[in-house]
Amino acid sequence: MDLLIQQVVNGFTLGSIYCLVALGLTLIYGIMEVPNFAHGHLYMVGGYVTFFMMTLYGINYWVSGLIAGIVLAVLGILLERIVFNPMRNSPSTNKFIAAVGAMMFIEAVARVLWGSDFRSIPAIYDNVVMIGGVRLTEQRLIIIAGAVILMVALYLFLKHTLIGSTIEAMAQNRDGASLVGIDVNRVAMLTFAVASLLASAAASLSGPIFLVYPSMGALIIMKVFVIIVIGGMGSIPGAVLGSFILGMTESLGATYISSNYKDVIAFAILVLILSIKPSGLFAKGGH
């Protein structure tokens, strides 16, 4: 029983991290209609920046995370300007390929600069707390709380600021027929900035537990794709729901089915879903 609760909490932790990355990806998809393969790699860079801020300059964990977020926001904007904006009118296959190129590039740069070793963001909150008979490290609670706070912040931003509601409107309604007079460039850049910031935050939060290494982006990006396919591409509530479903499935699956094949679970779910519903789980349209 304790084991089960333990795994549920772990599932929540995992889901929280997926969620922060997935929200950004789904927003970008909504605005640009391109699956940004490089998004997981922004998450990876966020982890590294946090790590180096703390270890090289001895900066406080929270401030490091904040700096990483800002650096990544800038990086996200650069990515939009250099790669995606010029490809706006290209055939979609070419956009996909450009995104793949960006992904290869970022990972390679990370390897050149930082090597292929696994690093761990120094854990400062590794005390164990007991809640209802379950042993938890503080960091797990911080991850869940951090993710919730950021989600609420994102929600407020999207609902209660003008630019935020523009982003949301554009993400939900891709025809944009009703959105005349919007500075598309500004919206696109801002979306990339917000999305990258969220990814960076996910890495800062998870770094003390899940380690930081160059190929961490490649694995998470595919899981997050699974999530937004489950949740419906471009849908924000779908991304949140999908993240926790996947986090929970993986956590419980690893314990009760097979820890060896736990990474396969996510992809198997996706194949299953798309075999049954080729247009995604929550596809709109009335055919």
Binding site: F96, I97, A98, M104, V229, N260, L270, S279
Partner: protein, 346 residues
């Protein structure tokens, strides 16, 4: 017109020269290292021809190709290692097995469109990779398998030397190029290209789009499986990384450098890129930095790759020559229509 005849003649001579060069290569290669590099390049090129059929001609970005390559390599390698099957049996079995799996994959994934297709095939590629990596008892897991036997000799022909293996791979490459060029220049190939251009219109004209897509996918997987089998008997070592998605991305890069939807593109791109890779071996890490950036530049500015760029340059020149002639002698221009043909279904 003379000019065009001359151009065709030049083309013919060029083909012969390339062929002669390929035959003579083991004797003129300055060292044996180049020979191994080129042989490996040929093996990859066979797989890239498969990718070309799907991405270039059919217009579907499948990212499961390395998975199929790994499947072919492991099927053939395991059959000869564990069951002692001869290469000449394990290769066709690997090709057929890969095709069968690909057809099943295609049946699922071609019901999806656009980005769903890309993501789905990517995930299927990852599943194949992960299964190979985790199925320790069969595949040796991350440690891999060593000692895949070389192809057994047929009569007096042995495949012990590097040269003989080079010629073996070359033979398969020529077969691949022959089959591919026959297919893409036929009505079957035109059907693929029409689907790339507009699936809806093709279906409205009575073309069974699903069947055509499966056909292209199957042919591609067949050759990818052959490439995998050749790889396993040439390298003689199998590791799960040969099924990893980054190999798919490299195949994609080779294809784009050479030129998608062209017959020469996959070979040109693969040899060039893997040649550069080998000569940049000492800076293995930087290579992907360059390649990643290159991929973006190519897809933005030269979506037709090297071969495509050469073709359009040629068409431009032809047009200019013709215009000059026209203004001089007032002859009706045929070069115009030739150029149009080049731009069309090519």
């Amino acid at each position: 017109m003379d000019l065009i005849k001359k151009m065709y003649k030049t083309k013919y001579i060029a083909y012969l020269a390339v062929f002669a060069l390929a035959i003579a290569f083991p004797y003129i290669s300055p060292n044996r290292y180049y020979l191994t590099v080129v042989t490996l390049g040929f093996i990859y090129a066979i797989a890239v021809y498969g990718l070309n059929l799907i991405v270039g001609y059919l217009g579907q970005l499948s990212l499961a190709q390395a998975g199929f390559f790994g499947l072919g390599a492991y099927t053939s390698g395991l059959l000869s290692l564990k069951l002692g099957l001869s290469f000449w049996l394990s290769l066709p079995i690997a090709a057929v097995a890969t095709t069968t799996v690909a057809l099943l994959v295609g049946l699922i994934s071609f019901r999806t469109r656009g980005h769903y297709f890309v993501i789905l095939t990517l995930c299927i590629g990852v599943i194949i990779h992960l299964v190979i990596e985790k199925w320790d008892s069969l595949t040796g897991g991350v440690r891999g398998l060593i000692g895949v036997p070389i192809p057994s000799s047929i009569g007096p022909i042995e495949f012990k030397s590097l040269e003989s293996q080079y010629y073996l791979v070359l033979a398969f490459l020529i077969l691949t190029i022959f089959v591919m060029s026959r297919i893409v220049s036929s009505l079957v190939g035109r059907t693929f290209k029409s689907i790339r251009n507009s699936e809806e219109l093709a279906a409205t004209l009575g073309i069974n789009v699903m069947k055509s897509k499966l056909l292209a996918f199957g042919i591609a997987a067949f050759f990818t499986g052959i490439a995998g089998a050749l790889f396993s008997s040439y390298i003689r070592f199998l590791g799960p990384e040969i099924a990893a998605t980054h190999l798919t991305f490299e195949f994609l890069l080779f294809l784009l450098i050479g030129g998608q939807a062209t017959i020469a593109g996959p070979l040109v791109g693969t040899l060039l890129a893997s040649g550069i890779t080998e000569s940049l071996q000492f800076m293995q890490e930087y290579r992907m930095v360059v390649f990643g950036a290159l991929l973006i530049v190519i897809v933005k500015f030269f979506p037709g790759g090297l071969v495509g760029a050469t073709k359009s340059l040629k068409a431009k020149l032809e047009k200019r020559v013709n215009q000059r002639k026209k203004s001089g002698t007032n002859l009706p221009s045929k070069g115009e229509s030739h150029a149009a043909k080049n731009r069309g279904f090519n």
